[in-house]
Symmetry: C2
Subunit: 412 residues, 2 copies
Amino acid sequence: MQSLKKTPRLCLSPFRLGRYINRSVFLATQILPSVDNQHRKDFGPTVSPERLLLGPGPSNADPAVLKALSQPPIGHLDPFYVDLMSEVQELLRYAWQTSNRLTLPMSGTGSAAMEATLANVVEPEDTVLVAIKGYFGHRLADMAGRYKANVETIHKEWGNAFSLQEIEDALKKHTPAVLAIVHAETSTGVCQPMDGIGDLCRKYNCLLLVDTVTSLGGVPLYLDEWKIDLAYSCSQKGLSCPPGLGPFSMNERAENKMSNRKDKVPNWYLDVSLLNKYWGSDRVYHHTAPVNMNFGIREALRLLAEEGLEVSWGRHRTNAKSLWNSLENIGLELHVKEELRLPTLTTVKIPEGLDGKAFTKHLLNNFGVEIGGGLGDLAGKVWRIGLMGYNSTSENVDKIINIFETELPKFR
Amino acid sequence: MQSLKKTPRLCLSPFRLGRYINRSVFLATQILPSVDNQHRKDFGPTVSPERLLLGPGPSNADPAVLKALSQPPIGHLDPFYVDLMSEVQELLRYAWQTSNRLTLPMSGTGSAAMEATLANVVEPEDTVLVAIKGYFGHRLADMAGRYKANVETIHKEWGNAFSLQEIEDALKKHTPAVLAIVHAETSTGVCQPMDGIGDLCRKYNCLLLVDTVTSLGGVPLYLDEWKIDLAYSCSQKGLSCPPGLGPFSMNERAENKMSNRKDKVPNWYLDVSLLNKYWGSDRVYHHTAPVNMNFGIREALRLLAEEGLEVSWGRHRTNAKSLWNSLENIGLELHVKEELRLPTLTTVKIPEGLDGKAFTKHLLNNFGVEIGGGLGDLAGKVWRIGLMGYNSTSENVDKIINIFETELPKFR
């Protein structure tokens, strides 16, 4: 079907009507403007290519999750759906190791959940201290500024983590209302050691807000034990679900700050005081939930609980170690020192003089394998290889290493 | 699997490991806190019940859409996905009858797209005039207030529409920067006549913002012809896709207002100036797109283009008229006068003395059929019957009428 001129008024469309012909009618009772067909394109059915997603995410979804996702939708206040919501919350609590009542998936991607953590607790003039050691720290700072926070930052080179001393010094200096830090920096492949940060935040009377986008499900993570007050994540990495939901959790300390706000939360869609009435026992309609995505994440979280966190964490670590060894064995250098490396995402230095972008393109086009390039400070300097959730297998390690071994020499 | 006490340190989970056993390992190199299993529940696989969704939405999705939705995800910067984004935009332009460049699905539900229309153009102290004739007008007013607008409202009883004179009087009185009005009020079943409102907004130099949540795909709608500057909708009604995406469109007049803002858009996730760099030719990463939902909406919009707008609108009108006649034939009264009735959503008065809620519950539990109750001013007074997208068929009209005929007498 090409772009065509306007069709005559009230005229039956001349195009393929197929299955609809029997129920088609003229709008005989209304005088309407002509329909403009310039944007009416004749695209074929929606068929996506096969990909093995070994980049920074999305990762491949578990086939059982895709099956759950494709069930016919039901109402967002259907008793079955309301039960499912509670199950999703409970399984999320397990995955995050928290008993926070306010644990739920936001109806948007991980970035929406990130914004929700700030939007709900930050009031104008609050100091928000962001510990930046990669791309997503900058995003937190940008978002906090939009909520009129007084944003302070501390910085670490991209590929390193903060020491407890550095964090304490900054807390002492800035006395923030919120410290925001990324646990698993997807842009650098660094896992920030969390021991002791929660205690410091209690000592300096601030909330601890943690990005767990690339750790949830794949890397040891204990919200309550680590005294994390606010956390967010995504569905498409360690959970083996497609992107589209943003797990969110807040404890009572954070809830108290939210409850004491002078004004309404300046973001209606992400307002947890409203969402609480839908996810809590009241079940008051807020927005029409993305029910199918929630079918998917329930199944994803269920499979994680079935496997068990220790087993999943161990699987991620074993496969990552095998990847690290193999990459070094073929002469590549890793960007992050071993004790700070994320099991879910590995940054590999692009060898001097090699066109990293051409190589990733070659992998995608010829093998259907996606790996990521660098972001921000690391653009053009590293590749990012993800082994997350369903994709963290020894078979995938072998596959990517074999491809590197045979294909990389062609680019040197 | 019941809630159990904490497992010993570094111990392999004692639960069903099944498919994972071969790749499981101990985290032998790390000393970690114990994993708490109190929230580790042994839920069964995710299986949703069969429902015929004849309420205010979600409506049933086309099976072809569910098939598209369940394909394995691909990267949000994959060349295939980038092409798909452009196709979704083009098909959305057709569905909305607009050539607006900034036409795209927000990565959230319809309420997120609603918020996006306000968040991007409203600056503090701007007057936003909301014409309220139902629940969603109130929501617009609440949201506008959160963006520090000076919110003015005009009201009409729930079940009626505004006249051009009433709108002109209010524009003259309040000289707003934005007039927000709902085209298809899902809470009342009223279709607001749009002729002339766009011209008035140009005359009084304000932007026209229109809620098309329950009209897109099912009811005649011409964004450009009607001089609508900002519009939003949802995926789960006239488009026959599950909920989870919020179609959004803004024209150059609205874009100019956004470009002249003094401050950044106070909502990062919905910031169209950032989203434009991802959806426009730059393809700069903003957030990880909900790729599977976009597979779904592409298929939904493709099917709508294949059917053709005139045919779809005619189908909705014919089936709605048949529903209206049949409901009146069995002695029920409709809430809205015929010339203002929405073909996609019909409000039926609950007969005096009848327990409307018990009846809807009976339909859901015994027939798997969902219809809606009243919201806000109409709570307890009406039922809401939707015939939207894939569900607007004569078979569904017959089915719901038959059920009403046999079951309603049991509740009188």
